[in-house]
Structures are given as structure tokens and as C-alpha cells.
């Protein structure tokens, strides 16, 4: 029996070895999280159930707890505005949360644009589109710096004048208008022009959250790496594949790159259970022997040279 492979081709091996459900566990959890967060905001206006008011930029939970997006507040500060206390407390809560669990958890568990770009990537593989205009992965840092500079120069919250992340979130919660065109543009960029173009190379929001969670406690661990069969499934499933090689072949079997979105795609895709969620302090567990280590080193570095983007 052939089940539909919703989360993509790299999971075939995992489906065979551990079943469809386990091979899609994190993918299902993530989609549930992204969609239920949006619903939480949307059932207010739709059904009059106000658990949360506002949107991801700033909100009030149960009419009391404030939450605010720290990146927007940072731009506002650059533009010269001193925030009122509610927004500041709200941003502090958000900063502490992501600094602990990993900044780009925002990307794979919260941001709805991620659903759009993941879908574009999935379709790309289904259609066998291989064209890939190489972009620099650090372009997002350039755009991040530019957004802060532009906020300072113009005295506006500059990135919010174009931010597709806000356009989509606001659109779902308040109505989207012509903003769908911007979302369509990102979908087409990722589908036809560049593999993982938006989230992996350009989005300054993802870059900001990456920096925010650079030292986070929760990390992906390759603690079962002596069982790795070098099938490359994790690298193909990962939206930021360059983060995986150091964990598989390096001294520390942890994914420590701030680019990792903690999506769990590698955990899902690996047929031999190499990856799991862990904290950055659980290093020595299940460490492989010296023999396996050297073999791994050779094979994986050869493997990733092909896939790892420059």
C-alpha cells in the first residue's frame, strides 16, 4: 500500500522503517501548532470568542497578558519611539521564551508563511523543478541591518511597510486585501527560482529570531549518529541543510547553528532514529565509538559537499 507522502519525498525511507505516522510526527505537530495559533486569533472575530485580541505584532491574551514582537519593537526604538509599558512587557515575555526554546522555533512552529514556503518546496520536488538560483544565506542579515537602518533614517517601522509575515498574519485575522499578491510572489520565488529562497536566504524576521535564539537551551541532537546509514534523508528534509553536517561529523553531536528552525524534519525523515530533541547540555549521551566516528567523518563530509550550499 502506498500512502500519500504529504511532507515530502525524503521521508520515504523513514515511512518504510517506522511507519507513516512516526515519519510525519513533527510535521503534524508543527502544522497543528501553526494552524491552531492562527485559529486562536481568528475565532475572536469569527465567533466572538476572545481568548486573544490583536495579532502577532502585539496582542492581549485573556484580556490581561500582553505579548509583542521584539523585532518590530526594535525597529520602533531605532525610529525613536519610546514604547509604552504594555508592549515592553509583552516583548520581554516573547524574548525570554524564544531565547530558551530556540529563536527559529518561531519560523517552523508559529509563522504561517512557513506553511506557504514548505508547500512551495514540496511542490518543487513533486514537479521535479531543480533550477536553483543561488542566493547568499547571509542576505537575510543584510536585509535585517538594512531594515533597522531604514527605520532609523525615516523614523518609521520600515520593514512593516513590506513584511509578508505580518501581511499574511494580519490578512488571516483582519482580512487580506491585495496582500495575497505578495504571498503569491514568495510562493513563486520558492517554487520556480530558488530552493528555500525566502525563509532560507532573505527573510529578516527569521534572521532576527535566529540571532535571538543563538544560545538557546533546546536543540536538536544527533545522539544516535553511530547508526547513521548516510542515506541523506535528513539533509533533503532540512530547510537549512548546512546545520546538520557539524552535528553528524563534528566533535559535538548537537545542531548548534542558529539557523536551525527546530522543525524536527530530520527526526521525522531519519530511518534509523539518529536525531531527537535535547538540551544543549546533553552532549555525551549515546556517543558512538571511535571507529564509527572516523568512518562517519569520511562518508558524511563527502555526502554533504554535494548538498551543502556555499
Amino acid at each position: 500500500m502506498k500512502l500519500i507522502d504529504l511532507a515530502g519525498e525524503p521521508r520515504r525511507g523513514a515511512i518504510r522503517s517506522k511507519g507513516w505516522l512516526k515519519a510525519h510526527k513533527y510535521w503534524l505537530l508543527r502544522r497543528t501548532s501553526q494552524i491552531s495559533l492562527l485559529l486562536l486569533f481568528a475565532i475572536g472575530p469569527w465567533l466572538g470568542l476572545w481568548f486573544v485580541q490583536g495579532n502577532f505584532a502585539s496582542s492581549r491574551v485573556l484580556d490581561s497578558v500582553p505579548l509583542s514582537d521584539p523585532f518590530i519593537l526594535l525597529q520602533s526604538a531605532m525610529a525613536g519611539h519610546v514604547m509604552a509599558t504594555a508592549a515592553l512587557i509583552g516583548a520581554l515575555v516573547v524574548v525570554l521564551f524564544y531565547a530558551f526554546v530556540g529563536g527559529r522555533v518561531y519560523c517552523s512552529w508559529v509563522c504561517p508563511v512557513n506553511i506557504v514556503t514548505d508547500t512551495a518546496h514540496w511542490l518543487r520536488e513533486q514537479l521535479g523543478i531543480t533550477r536553483d538560483r543561488k542566493l547568499n544565506r547571509n542576505a537575510r542579515l543584510t536585509i535585517l541591518a538594512a531594515a533597522l537602518g531604514a527605520s532609523m533614517v525615516t523614523g518609521t517601522i520600515a520593514w512593516e511597510l513590506v513584511n509578508p509575515v505580518s501581511v499574511l498574519q494580519r490578512g488571516i485575522i483582519f482580512g487580506i486585501g491585495f496582500g495575497w499578491a505578495l504571498i503569491a510572489a514568495i510562493f513563486l520565488l520558492d517554487l520556480c527560482i530558488t530552493r528555500r529562497g525566502w525563509c532560507g536566504h532573505l527573510c529578516p524576521v527569521g534572521a532576527f529570531y535566529g540571532l535571538l535564539g543563538a544560545k538557546s537551551v533546546i536543540r536538536i541532537s544527533a545522539r544516535g549518529r553511530q547508526g547513521c546509514e548516510n542515506c541523506g534523508a535528513c539533509l533533503r528534509a532540512c530547510p537549512e541543510p548546512h546545520v546538520i553536517a557539524p552535528a553528524l561529523k563534528g566533535n559535538v553531536p548537537l545542531v548548534l547553528s542558529r539557523d536551525c528552525t527546530t522543525c524536527g524534519g530530520c527526526i521525522d525523515a531519519c530511518p534509523s532514529d539518529v536525531f531527537s530533541l535535547a538540551t544543549r547540555f546533553q552532549i555525551a549521551n549515546h556517543e558512538g565509538g571511535c571507529n564509527g566516528e572516523t568512518k562517519m567523518h569520511r562518508q558524511v563530509s563527502g555526502d554533504t559537499a554535494l548538498i551543502q550550499p556555499k
Binding site: 508592549a87 537602518g149 531604514a150 517601522i157 511597510l161 513590506v162
Partner: protein, 227 residues
């Protein structure tokens, strides 16, 4: 790494030349992207000429640095007056505004919208709605105003929530005939837009504009003389 290097370099190290070239490239990129975004922000920032902001809004230049576009003011308004700007609206993307002719501000005494604002873009401490300056009403088309034509319409005067302070009916003699002309007093008018909404003409003859558009100002003329 370029082939100008005589010795192979250890993996992961970068020559000074490459480093400087890389840094220059990033700096250039930041400047170019920042410049483009600034130009766009400037043009977007000059747009909200017609936009009426919610009561308690701070000055427009500051508003653009303060409002995070969360829509908490929109949710707090019981009359669905406020909207967040979408692409294609003539207002900076995502910021709140209202169109008086569609739904004006009904001047809730407790100003729930301003109280809900978490950022200070709207003054949550505003003492009363009568302190709001969303704009100023202007009888912009005397020629079509029915009172001016000698009828007793006076709808704008009647619906004004601050009647006889913000709008009064003043006796004027026009073409030798007595007329009652609706007259706005800007120190009392909050710019709520009830008058514009209710004006019986197909296009309102009384309109609310942001204060800096509606009003002139006394100062120094071009020749430098005080007037």
C-alpha cells in the same frame, strides 16, 4: 579562495583581503537595501494625507514609529469604525485609520480604542474624548451646501455630538438674503466625522481633514513680516 595565495590556508580561515572584500560587499548591500527601503518608507510615510487616525493618536511622524499595527484599537471600537490599512489603501500598510463618510467615530466617553493601545501610538491616558484631534471639519463646498442655498437642512449641526460648540449656525447675508451657515469651531471640533457621514448630499459638502491640511496658520509671510 583566489589563486594568489602562495600557501594553502587552513580550512575555515579567511585571508585579510577576502575578509575586507566580504565586509565591503555586505556594507554595500546593507546600504543599497536600506536606501531602497528608506525611499519606499518616505513615500509611504507621505501618504496618510487623507487618513484620519483614531482618537488620541500622536503626531503623524511619531505615529509611524510607534504603531506596531496590532489592531487592538480596531478590536476595542464597538462601532467598527477603525480599519487596518491593506495593500492598495492610501495609508501606511497595516496602520489604523477610518473613513468618516463610511463610519465616523461615535466619541465613546471612555475612549476604548486609545485605552487598548499597547505602544503609546494612541495616548492611553487621554483624559476625555473631547481632547481628541482626529481632524477638523471644514465646510468645503459652500456652493452646494443646502443651508447656503437657502434651505433649512442643518443636518450637520444637528448630528454633531458637540453641537453648538463645535458647529454653530451663523447668520450671514448672502446676495442680499439671510442665510444660516454651518460654522466649525476648530478648538471644539474633534474630527469625529459625524457631520461628514450624515451630510445629505451625494458627496458631503462638509468634510473632515487631518488638522494640518484643514487649517492655516498664523506666522511669518514669505517676505519675513509677521502676520
Amino acid at each position: 579562495m583566489g589563486n594568489h595565495n602562495p600557501k594553502p590556508r587552513a580550512k575555515g580561515t579567511v585571508s585579510r583581503r577576502d575578509f575586507i572584500a566580504g565586509a565591503a560587499k555586505s556594507a554595500g548591500g546593507v546600504c543599497a537595501a536600506g536606501f531602497a527601503l528608506s525611499l519606499y518608507a518616505e513615500s509611504a510615510g507621505s501618504q496618510p494625507v487623507q487618513a484620519l487616525r483614531p482618537p488620541g493618536a500622536i503626531a503623524e511622524e511619531d505615529f509611524q514609529s510607534a504603531c506596531v499595527r496590532c489592531g487592538l484599537c480596531v478590536r476595542a471600537c464597538p462601532y467598527d469604525t477603525l480599519k487596518l490599512a491593506e495593500f492598495g489603501d492610501d495609508v501606511a500598510l497595516g496602520t489604523p485609520f477610518f473613513v468618516a463618510r463610511d463610519v465616523p467615530c461615535f466619541m465613546c466617553p471612555d475612549v476604548p480604542c486609545a485605552r487598548a493601545c499597547p505602544t503609546g501610538a494612541l495616548d492611553a491616558e487621554i483624559p476625555s474624548i473631547k481632547e481628541a484631534t482626529m481632524g477638523t471639519a471644514v465646510l468645503s463646498d459652500h456652493e452646494n451646501c443646502l443651508n447656503y442655498r437657502g434651505m433649512h437642512c442643518s443636518v450637520c449641526h444637528r448630528v454633531c455630538p458637540i453641537r453648538d460648540e463645535a458647529i454653530t449656525l451663523e447668520k450671514h447675508v448672502i446676495n442680499g438674503k439671510p442665510r444660516l451657515i454651518p460654522t466649525v469651531h476648530s478648538d471644539h471640533c474633534t474630527g469625529c466625522g459625524r457631520c461628514e457621514e450624515q451630510c445629505v448630499l451625494a458627496e458631503a459638502a462638509i468634510r473632515v481633514y487631518p488638522v494640518d491640511i484643514a487649517r492655516g496658520s498664523i506666522g511669518v509671510n514669505r517676505a519675513g513680516r509677521r502676520i
